[in-house]
Symmetry: C2
Subunit: 357 residues, 2 copies
């Protein structure tokens, strides 16, 4: 069955091989067979996170991963510094505030990433953490987390990164860049259907969460880790077995291609796409210094064009792209190029876009 091409910033195309794996008969989650599968997937996640610490898995959307990080790491009244460069940065702040955190927010004008100097200036001694989004799909901008991570070295504050639309597509070195909590999800660069959130926690993070007093059961990091580290790895409650089968297969594909080749492919295709888009005379929304290699945003001055293009692309060319979010609704199209994406898909998208203009 031929589906639509998903050039969206998630869910992304799921490779045939992953879909096939997920359609195998269901296995039970209290068996050795499942324990091996779950253990294997968790090991592969460590490679992609570039961490020596265990990566936890929750049956949840990426947003659940953000919420889990807040309720595990903090207590009511904790002060944090949080950076927002778009919709998902705002969401992370909203969740933190709902749980009673006092958030000092750096609201970066849309289309840009944060300046490291601003973080240096604003991070205070009474902040318990710095929270930010690595790659913001709503504006197609990326924060310079490597540089920020180097600044965070030996700081007492935790460094918490939403890597939902970056991990597996953009380089992220959790341990080397001093990231204490790194969150991602199955449906972006990890090429699988949505429904799983993954969270890596550093040694410093594990130490810090001992003092968290926010209530938690479903999201409890300690109990997830305890179950993962049993001789036959398992979960505190029923895991999303078929999605775990899928992600394990997708991670094998990343392994076979080579993680750094995967990054380079993303980089190359993003450059190629942007080059051709500019050649068409279209306007790339994001500031050049903060361009994302997993998603590209194009804005139109005239109202209505963006929506018409989006509609045409889907109906006539079977290519799904995204529109603008927040204030940019109706004025922007966003093309995702993460995970299962190749030269042919980029060419098809460019061809269709040209025809629609």
């Amino acid at each position: 069955m031929e589906g639509k091409l998903l050039m969206t910033p998630g869910p992304t195309n799921v490779p045939e091989r992953v879909l096939k794996k997920m359609s195998e008969p269901m296995i039970h989650h209290r068996t050795k067979e499942y324990g091996k599968l779950f253990g294997d997937m968790s090991e592969r996640l460590k490679d992609v996170f570039q961490t020596k610490n265990p990566v936890l898995t929750f049956p949840a959307a990426g947003t659940g991963g953000l919420e889990a990080s807040i309720v595990n790491m903090f207590s009511k009244g904790d002060k944090v510094l949080a950076v927002s460069i778009g919709v998902f940065g705002d969401r992370f702040i909203k969740i933190a505030e709902i749980y009673g955190l006092k958030v000092d927010a750096i609201e970066v004008p849309w289309g840009r990433g944060v300046e490291v100097d601003e973080i240096k200036e604003r991070l205070r001694d009474d902040h318990k953490a710095l929270i930010l989004t690595h790659n913001e799909t709503s504006t197609a901008a990326t924060n310079p987390i490597e540089e920020i991570g180097r600044f965070m070295k030996d700081k007492k504050q935790l460094f918490i990164v939403d890597g939902v639309s970056s991990v597996g597509g953009l380089e992220v070195k959790m341990d080397e860049w001093n990231i204490d909590v790194l969150i991602t999800a199955s449906q972006k660069a990890l090429m699988s259907p949505p429904g799983l959130a993954f969270i890596g926690v550093s040694d410093k993070g594990w130490e810090a969460l001992k003092s968290s007093t926010l209530p938690k059961f479903y999201w409890d990091f300690f109990s997830a880790r305890r179950c993962l580290e049993k001789s036959v790895p398992e979960n505190p409650y029923t895991p999303a077995v078929s999605l775990i089968l899928g992600v394990n297969e997708a991670l094998k594909m990343i392994e076979e291609e080579g993680l750094y080749n995967v990054y380079k492919r993303h980089e190359y295709l993003a450059w190629k796409l942007r080059y051709e888009i500019e050649k068409m005379g279209l306007k790339i929304y994001t500031n050049k210094r903060f361009l994302s290699n997993t998603v590209t945003a194009i804005t139109f001055d005239e109202d209505g064009i963006a929506s018409r293009i989006k509609k045409n692309m889907e109906e006539e060319y079977k290519i799904v792209i995204a529109g603008g979010q927040g204030n940019l609704k109706g004025k922007m199209i966003r093309i995702g190029h993460m995970g299962c994406v190749n030269q042919e898909m980029i060419d098809k998208t460019l061809y269709a876009l040209k025809q629609c203009l």
Copy 2:
């Protein structure tokens, strides 16, 4: 590909037709196509819940559904009456206590359901709700929720039911039996892989949750309902699209068979299984008045037999059954018969069990 037969109390066998549906190319969750799918599934869920109110969907395990019910319906310090007849009743109480509820617990001896008279006696004016498990898989016992529901009519207390291993297999009439919050999950009688929790809320429930002050974002019922009721139904964050495709297909199968035929099939197969088990001279654990029609528990006086049978069944006959939980570990086997189960599967299981003895 031939898999193992899952005669477990969840995850259960996923029909070929559902697996196939889930292996179709990924669709995007902000499209009309998805809106129709999600809307259709949600309507079908209402039929199975036997309610006129919307049924909400969360990317989560059933345990997430229990947690969601607590954080949406209550505030810290609220008093509730909760019944536990096994592991899952205990879990519901634990979650409630973690979130600061004051729980009066009726701890029923394992192997039985609660007596309605005990609820009548113990339910007090300052209780905000009565919480219980419909079908307890750890002991293969069922609570008489119809009778309890009739008693709850016009009471000011909410009636909250964990229907994870019952809805779609045992008769549950949410509206007629005055249930205010009913929770289930995808991987039991709904014949799909794990990863989705479903929650129905009555009018009285919607009224009550306005005054809840526990923090929530991921589990927020109001925002889930608002999104579901848009002209193109959607979700507050990325939904587990492939699982929704699967569940919608499974619900179509229930519709085609006829919901009451599905109940009758469960009833018949459960009777048949128990009859043959007793003929073998084995001991059924559960008290006759509270027998479950989705799972059967057998106990052995001698240690070790249960574990050996479980192992043999899986290794030699490719039939996965479950062991005992809690104090019954090593002394019990549990055979699940919910969802995708037929006469042939029951016969195979009985044959293998006979050989293993």
